[in-house]
């Protein structure tokens, strides 16, 4: 049986339309051989969690540049937990001040990437840290 390919969802929570980074990452993940689902902009945390479960993804990458990450990122993790999908790895990126990192880690965000992160550094993190779902 062929090995199941790792599935990654790139998601844009909230009202923020800055999708340059998210779309570049979606391409980079696809070029690296992952199966990629990109939600497009303006998704509520509820929509993202539901789609992640339905699409059976291994990782959700959240992108937010509006400053609303403090509410939106933890909310996605919380909703995944409610759906019994806490084994989906959630990472995030965008304009995120250093002082917010710990709160996001505590809420269950596994990694945070900010401006200047290279595509390779993000791909390496996934290669080294992502546990595919059982």
């Amino acid at each position: 049986m062929p090995e199941r390919r790792i599935r990654i969802m790139v998601a844009k929570p909230g009202l923020d339309g800055h999708d340059r980074g998210a779309r570049i990452l979606a391409r980079a993940f696809r070029d690296a051989g992952y199966e990629v689902i990109y939600t497009g902009c303006h998704q509520t945390p509820e929509q993202i969690a539901a789609a992640a479960v339905q699409e059976d993804v291994d990782l959700v990458g959240l992108s937010c540049l509006s400053g609303a990450h403090g509410y939106l990122f933890p909310r996605v993790v919380e909703l995944l937990k409610e759906k019994g999908a806490e084994d989906i790895t959630v990472i995030g990126g965008g304009i995120i001040p250093d002082q917010d990192f710990q709160r996001l880690y505590d809420a269950g965000i596994k990694a945070i990437f900010t401006p200047g992160a290279t595509l390779d550094s993000i791909l390496d993190w996934i290669k080294n840290n992502l546990k595919p779902r059982e």
Binding site: G14, L15, R20, R23, I24, G40, H42, T44, Y71
Partner: protein, 562 residues
């Protein structure tokens, strides 16, 4: 005939260039170029040297001409900046209406000459602060406006008949403009006296910025309503700011920014003529543009010069406009947010200064300079002051305003201007063939062209083919932290209270009548503006009005192309 140079000059140039080429070929063996290909930030290849031969087909009178004369390559104003500097217009908005009003007064005290409004995301998307969609967003990246009550606070003690105000607002532009008109009315300032700009450019939202509400076709219809209303009643208002800024920030090349923006402009002009039956000269003089000024100095200058020349031809030849003011391309410029780095943020002051200078040499009418901390947060007061001072130094110390379009006639500048114009026309022709910009957007054409360019640039950065100082070269391990503006959580709570209070106080029967009237206007094709103004006067909220639009016209969803 008509060539820029005499045959004799061209002949000499050819001889000297040939000699130089031979010498270079010889010396390149000992000291080869540092890299095999030199290109702009947009990846447009640049030659080692430009000579008269590169512009031998340029006709001085036809293609260059004088400032204030067709085709306006050298600027719209016959006196350039000697008559008047560009407007120093800093984009500002944060937290509550009162917070933003305080920042505006600070900027005016510091010598700013025009206002520019940044709204928070719920306002930009047509949601009130009490909407579930607005959670976590209130006041974060701009000011939160729910009702006219907030708007009156925003413009408190601002002389609406003297200062012009720009509002970066798109799907709900008609609503925010209605609030401005209503505020002027309440303050006793006639509509004929107020001046400013609403961005009101939906096409670039579908292409790049992704702040959308209704589908493209009805979105353009509402825009044409505002153009018609402005033409009749608010003659000093720029009802659209046709914007390349966001196209560029989304990762386009300079040529794509130029071409897509001007093609958007063509789409709006066509719609107003067809739908409203207005004469092109009645409204075209109030169309305005907005460009990015990125870090590649000469490419930006040439882009802006080419834009003026293309638009003059479009208006004169495609739309047969007769009023020279219809031929003018007037534009605002903002330095490139995407060129700034979170690493070593003080370097951003330098980048912004260079980009601002390019905007000025490109002949902008209005300028926003980014603050050094804008990669990280909304700008602090101190950072904004440096950014504003950057413009004042360029205007009043450097001497660049002494003479008009000082780079004209440079072999390189004119050649690159011609090249960018030529490439832009190709895109415009291609989109014409597709059936116009809405059709092109439906096919995902501009979106994917931009995505390709953005991905290519990111790869060039990752492979060190392009340099961003502090990011992929000259990296320091110890970063100096800078003080950042924080938006208090309290802002959202207080805004919720204010909105609830307005809703309690207002005559809700009047509001529901107004909204019914607006709905009827939407359905029957009547101009929505008078109905919006009546509704905001009765304290209908932004979202209540936008919900009418959503109900009648439907909602657009991001197709998620990548």
């Amino acid at each position: 005939m008509g060539s820029y140079f005499s045959d004799d000059t061209l002949k000499k140039s050819q001889e000297l260039t040939k000699k130089w080429e031979d010498e270079v070929a010889h010396s390149a063996v000992q000291s080869p170029d540092q890299k095999s290909r030199w290109s702009t930030v947009s990846d447009l290849e640049i030659k080692r040297l430009y000579t008269p031969e590169d512009i031998e087909d340029t006709d001085f009178a036809r293609d260059i001409g004088a400032p204030g004369e067709f085709p306006y390559l050298r600027g719209n104003q016959p006196t350039g900046y000697r008559g008047r500097y560009w407007t120093f217009r800093m984009f500002a908005g944060m937290g509550s209406a009162a917070d933003t009003n305080a920042r505006w007064h600070m900027l005016l005290r510091e010598g700013q000459t025009g206002l520019s409004t940044a709204f928070d995301f719920p306002t930009l998307m047509g949601y009130d602060t009490d909407s579930a969609n607005a959670r976590g967003e209130c006041g974060r990246c701009g000011v939160a406006i729910d009702t006219l009550d907030d708007f009156l606070t925003l413009v408190d003690k601002i002389p609406l008949d003297k200062v012009t105000t720009s509002m970066t607002i798109n799907p709900p532009a008609s609503v925010l403009w209605a609030m401005y008109c209503a505020a002027a009315d309440k303050r006793g300032v006639p509509l004929s006296k107020i001046g400013g700009t609403i961005q009101n450019d939906m096409l670039k939202e579908f292409i790049a910025q992704k702040t959308f509400m209704c589908p493209p076709e009805p979105s353009v219809r509402i825009i044409s309503d505002t153009v018609e209303f402005g033409t009749k009643y608010v003659p000093k208002w720029n009802t659209i700011s046709i914007s390349g800024y966001h196209i560029r920030e989304a990762g386009s090349t300079a040529v794509q920014e130029l071409a897509f923006t001007l093609r958007d402009g063509i789409e709006y002009v066509e719609d107003v003529i067809q739908r409203k039956g207005l004469d092109v000269d009645a409204f075209a003089p109030r169309l305005s543009f907005f460009f990015n000024s990125h870090i590649d100095f000469f490419e930006e200058i040439c882009k802006m010069r080419a834009a003026r020349r293309i638009w003059a031809h479009v208006m004169k030849e495609r739309f047969h406009a007769k009023n020279p003011r219809s031929w003018w391309l007037r534009f605002h410029t903002q330095t490139a947010g995407c060129s700034l780095t979170a690493q070593q943020p003080y370097n951003n002051v330098v980048r912004t200064a260079i980009e601002a200078l390019a905007g000025v040499l490109g002949g902008t009418q209005s300028l926003h300079t980014n603050s050094l901390d804008e990669v990280l947060a909304l700008p602090s007061e101190h950072a904004v002051q440096i950014a504003l001072r950057t413009q004042q130094i360029i205007a009043e110390e450097t001497g660049v305003a002494n003479t008009i379009d000082p780079l004209a006639g440079s072999y390189f500048i004119e050649s690159l201007t011609n090249k960018m114009e030529e490439e832009a026309w190709k895109y415009i022709a291609k989109i014409d063939e597709m059936g116009g910009m809405i059709a092109a957007i439906d096919k995902g054409f501009p979106q994917l062209e931009i995505a390709d360019a953005a991905y290519r640039f990111q790869q060039q950065i990752d492979h060190n083919e392009k340099v961003m100082v502090g990011v992929n070269k000259y990296v320091t391990s110890e970063e100096q932290p800078i003080p950042l503006l924080q938006i208090d959580e309290k802002v959202g709570k207080e805004q919720l209270k204010r909105l609830a209070d307005v809703k309690r106080r207002r005559d809700s029967r009047a509001v529901s009548t107004d909204l019914g009237d607006l709905k009827n206007a939407c359905k029957t094709g009547k101009n929505v503006m008078p109905y919006c103004i009546q509704a905001v006067k009765d304290m209908a909220s932004l979202q209540e009005i936008c919900d009418v639009y959503r109900e009648v016209f439907g909602e657009y969803r991001d197709p998620g192309l990548f």
